[in-house]
């Protein structure tokens, strides 16, 4: 190994180990959050390390990485493998709109593409840091310790099971640290190590790591000291009698059919209610309620009789699902019986034993099973659900006038108590005033909770007394509460601006695990009991909204907008009108433009999307050709230089450039110059190789210019001839 310069093979090994460590950071992120597509991030890490290995110049590497980043965004959010004019401009405008949001510090409103960009940037910086640690500091202990802490904190406080991760991190981390130490020591003492020597030095380390980890893995495992640390820690910090101080009611979290009086404290209840095997996270709905009393929710008696459904048959509005849409299958296993079935959005079929009949109360959304005209408790059932996709463009075109076109009667979903304080509806009007579409109005209320100074808390949440209104109290006085507060407030505010809305009860997605068969399983306990909002959007029907801070709306919205998405928070009418005027004029131009640019690439895109393999092989081939041209630059660059320098006036400045390009070319040719070699020493090596003393003459002239500072006696024309001759000889 050369001092200062790290052996490429060694570096490759280091990067591979660091890659594994970084992977361990990504795994829990993907498992615990909604981040799908771990692949694109891993590729990014891989590419970054590869560029490092190839010692690529930054001005090549950075643009390539940015292109990759942009492509990833494009791929994730448009599901198209190739850029189109429309999608690129849309993506850019979406990203640009975030800068205003960032400057105002409204973190909750940052759009998903921007979040992805920020995540990429974070990864990028981390990789840069790791490379610095490996190549310059030759010490990775800090990163290793951080990884261990990160993994163990996640293992302790989240559902992430880090059993395997701890082991992998241990082995890779120790190897990384050990090997770096060996290389650092050899550099410190100026010992050059060849591969064999390095291997010999690493062998004891390898034995120690493998031996100790093998020993550790066969040792019996002691159970955890705390079954679940969070309740334990909470009881230590807060004392035993949680929430009893202010005389409020402490109830256990969980599904409770009675919601007439909301508020009060919660205590945690880890009882498993049901588990569901389904690839994606789902909100599990039980029922909706329509009447807000000022203290809580009630359901006005339903007049219509329930609909009978045969298990396994399509039902409801979802029967007109498009054939192309993906159908997911959810397998639900009930542990604790609930009065009604739980079901995700997009449910189209419910499969269960054939000797029961399912009944559905459409108004409340309740499902239950009947056997021999008695309510029957199912232990398990399967659900076919189609993923719902909403077009943002269409959503933003909805208008309040569209309600008149709907046949349904919304009176019950616009109900509000007579004594609802004025300021609630004033606030609702103020929040939604600047928005045109129904969807944006609803969204603005949903977003309001993120920035209105609200906090999420389950303890000592106020219960309205006397004439107090539950929503009014939360919105203006306490601003502290849990899902019921947020969801009820949103429903009330929606109704206050004449958007039909109802209150939904059910369960949040729960903790995600990988079960023994390798499938994604969600465990839903009483702690996941949740409430949210459904608003009726004309043309779309009932759409879920998630106002509770800390929860995220899982509804898939397609970013299919064509025009500028100006800052959604800016309540500026004029600005919002302008783009619309432009919209009327612009399309003609865009169309014609598409005819030239887009129509040229579209067939290629179509062809490639049909023949993916040809696309992949083709791009690999193109990359290979580019790489070949680049790596053979030693053959063609000198000729180019000779040609271009011949036209210029021969003088010292040109000669300096010529001489330096000759040094580079000789290096590419294979005659290496170490940094500590003087030019005349190098010239001797070169002249020994080629014969003659051309390099010696060139070098003497160069040294005289550089170190002597005078060039008046030099004959530029003959030097240029010698230079041309030598650089062409050095092309091999």
């Amino acid at each position: 190994m050369n001092e200062g310069k790290i052996d490429v093979r060694f570096l490759m090994l280091m990067y591979a180990l660091a890659f594994v460590l970084l992977w361990e950071w990504l795994l829990p992120v993907v498992e615990l959050t909604d981040t799908e597509y771990i692949g694109i991030f891993l590729w990014f890490i891989g590419i970054s390390f590869l560029f490092g290995l190839l010692r690529m110049k930054w001005w090549i590497a950075v643009p390539l990485k940015i292109i990759y980043l942009f492509w990833s965004l494009h791929f994730v959010f448009f599901k198209m493998p190739f850029f189109s004019k429309e999608s690129v401009s849309l993506l850019i405008s979406d990203l640009m709109s975030n800068f205003a949001i960032i400057t105002t510090g409204d973190w909750g409103s940052i759009t998903n593409p921007m979040r992805t960009v920020l995540f990429f940037v974070l990864l990028w910086m981390t990789i840069y840091l790791i490379r610095h640690w490996i190549e310059v500091r030759k010490s990775i202990l800090l990163f290793y310790v951080m990884t261990v802490v990160f993994i163990s904190v996640l293992d302790t406080f989240s559902s992430y099971a880090a059993d395997g991760a701890v082991f992998r991190v241990m082995v890779t981390g120790l190897l990384l640290i050990g090997l770096l130490t060996i290389s650092r020591l050899s550099a410190k003492h100026g010992r050059k190590m060849n591969t064999g020597m390095f291997a010999a030095f690493s062998l004891p380390l390898l034995f120690a790591v493998i031996g100790s980890s093998a020993f550790a893995s066969v040792m019996p495992d002691k159970g955890p000291a705390w079954a679940d640390p969070i309740p334990f820690l909470k009881s230590v910090v807060q004392g035993e009698g949680v929430g009893s101080g202010s005389g409020s009611v402490v109830s256990k979290s969980g599904y409770d059919p009675d919601d007439s009086r909301l508020g009060g404290s919660f205590s945690q209840d880890d009882t498993l209610i049901f588990s569901a095997v389904v690839p994606k996270k789902q909100y599990w709905k039980i029922e909706t309620k329509n009447t807000y009393t000022g203290k809580g929710w009630e359901q006005t008696p339903v007049e219509r009789s329930p609909v009978n459904i045969v298990p396994g048959s399509l039902f409801g509005a979802s029967s007109d699902i498009l054939e192309g849409s993906d159908v997911l299958r959810a397998e639900v296993t009930i542990q604790e019986q609930l009065p009604y079935l739980v079901y995700p959005y997009g449910t189209s079929k419910i499969h269960t034993r054939t000797d029961v009949v399912l009944q559905n109360q459409e108004e409340t959304g309740q499902f239950w099973a009947m056997k021999d005209s008695e309510k029957f408790e199912l232990d398990s059932f399967g659900i076919d659900l189609s993923e719902q996709n909403f077009s943002l463009k269409a959503l933003q075109e909805t208008s309040m006038d569209d309600y008149s076109l709907e046949s349904e009667d919304f009176t019950q979903y616009l109900q509000l108590p007579n004594d609802l304080p004025e300021r609630v509806s004033e606030l609702a009007t103020q929040i939604t005033g600047s928005e045109e579409s129904v969807y944006e109005k609803a969204k603005s209320i949903e977003r309001y909770f993120n920035r209105g100074g609200f906090s999420y808390d389950q303890q000592d949440v106020a219960i309205p007394k006397g004439n107090e209104d539950y929503v009014d109290q939360f919105l203006f006085d306490t601003k502290r509460g849990y899902c019921d507060n947020f969801s009820t407030s949103m429903v009330v505010m929606l109704r206050a601006v004449d958007i039909p809305a109802r209150w939904v009860k059910g369960f949040a997605p729960g903790e995600t695990e990988r079960n023994s068969k390798g499938k994604t399983e969600h465990k839903i306990t009483n702690n996941e009991a949740h409430s949210w909002v459904e608003a009726y959007i004309p043309g779309f029907g009932w759409m879920p909204f998630e106002p509770t801070i800390g929860f995220s709306n899982l509804t898939d919205i397609d970013y299919d907008l064509e025009t500028d998405m100006s800052d959604p928070e800016t309540p500026n009418m004029e600005e919002r009108e302008r783009p619309e005027k432009e919209k009327e004029e612009v399309p003609a131009a865009t169309k014609s433009d598409d005819g030239g640019f887009g129509s040229f690439f579209k067939p290629i895109g179509d062809f490639l999307s049909k023949h993916k393999w040809i696309g992949i092989i083709g791009s690999v081939l193109i990359l290979y050709i580019v790489w070949k041209i680049y790596s053979n630059r030693g053959k063609w660059v000198p000729r180019l230089l000779v040609h271009s320098y011949r036209k210029r006036k021969a003088d010292w400045n040109l000669y300096k450039k010529q001489y330096k390009s000759l040094l580079k070319q000789l290096e590419r040719f294979g005659i290496k110059r170490s940094d500590s070699m003087t030019l005349s020493e190098y010239a001797k090596t070169v002249d020994t190789y080629f014969g003659g003393r051309q390099m010696g003459m060139l070098t003497a002239a160069y040294e005289q210019g550089i170190y002597g500072g005078y060039t008046s006696n030099l004959d530029w024309t003959s030097l240029q001839e010698i230079w041309e001759d030598l650089i062409i000889r050095a092309t091999g």
Binding site: G190, K656, S676, T678, L679, I706, Y707, G708, G709, Y710
Partner: protein, 315 residues
């Protein structure tokens, strides 16, 4: 005749006597032109004295020789004041140190007191006896020799005094073929007796002035300083090269460049001279001594680590 040609004549003259020692004579002339002194360290009989004599004879300078012994006193080196009954006053009789070229033979065999007297007059180019200071005429060039310190009955020179010498050189045994040549030449005559003077003292002074005109580029200065500061950071080195060492390297590079017929210093000069200038100016840690690493090896290592400036740099 250019400066280089003049010097070449001197070197060719020395070559008539010294066989295969062109490098040592070149370095000695370099030290002389740079106004420094040389410490030759080697076993007896390899031609140290012959070398100095040949040099002295070639430039027609006065040549003095001091053989150091354990009982030599400072006054034996510097000179004494003797009472002159005729003039009724003390009269200073200069010692052997007052000469153009002085061979101080086996200086590590004399007492530290006498060593100090020699080294001080080397540094100051003057002799002080009984409060009277006498300047030693220029050019003044001392070539001291010492037996390798492993030999018994020696007083090793203190490190601080070693840097009074510009170079520390090793002569080494001649090659087989060269030694045969030595015998051949000495078979019938004594070669040194037939040596001619090829350079006058006046010409030598001119050469010494020309050395100061040799250009040292900023990049070269930074390279010298990089090398010097590396010796201070080396894990094996207890005490690195002082700024005086960097200065000495620069001056000797100027002289060497002149010998090579250049008007500017190149990094090759620095690399070539650094071991001779720095070798006796660094003090090694005991670890290095146990591992058998010598100062010159450390300097070689440092030179393979410091990158050579090949372009103008902004400082």
């Amino acid at each position: 005749m250019t400066h280089a040609q003049v010097i070449d004549k001197v070197l060719a003259n020395i070559d008539k006597v010294m066989i295969g020692k062109r490098d040592i004579s070149e370095l000695s002339v370099t030290a002389m032109l740079a106004g420094g002194h040389v410490l030759l360290e080697d076993v007896p009989g390899v031609g140290k004295t012959m070398m100095v004599k040949a040099l002295a004879k070639s430039i027609g300078a006065t040549f003095k020789r001091i053989q150091f012994t354990p009982d030599l006193l400072p006054s034996d080196v510097l000179g004494v004041s003797i009472y002159n009954p005729k003039e009724m006053e003390f009269e200073f009789r200069p010692g052997p140190i007052v000469g153009n070229i002085v061979l101080a033979d086996e200086i590590n065999r004399t007492s530290p007191k006498t060593q100090a007297a020699l080294l001080e007059s080397m540094e100051e180019s003057s002799v002080t006896v009984d409060g009277e200071t006498i300047r030693i005429p220029q050019p003044f060039f001392v070539m001291a020799t010492q037996n390798p310190i492993e030999y018994e009955g020696t007083y090793p020179l203190p490190e601080a005094q070693l840097d009074r010498f510009l170079f520390k050189l090793k002569m080494g045994y001649p090659k087989r073929i060269e030694e045969i040549e030595v015998l051949e030449r000495a078979e019938k005559t004594v070669p040194i007796d037939h040596l001619e003077t090829v350079l006058s003292i006046q010409e030598l002074r001119e050469l010494q002035d020309a050395v100061k005109e040799v250009n040292v580029d900023q990049t070269i200065k930074s390279y010298i300083v990089d090398c010097a500061s590396e010796t201070r950071n080396n894990p094996y080195v207890y005490l690195g090269v002082s700024p005086r060492g960097s200065l000495a390297l620069m001056k000797s590079c100027q002289a060497y460049a002149l010998i090579k017929g250049r008007t500017y210093v190149t990094p090759d000069d620095v690399k070539y001279l650094a071991p001779f200038v720095f070798g006796h100016r660094i003090i090694l840690k005991s670890e290095a001594k146990y591992e058998g690493i010598t100062a010159n090896e450390i300097i070689e290592r440092i030179l393979t680590r410091v990158s050579v400036p090949i372009d103008r740099v902004k400082l």
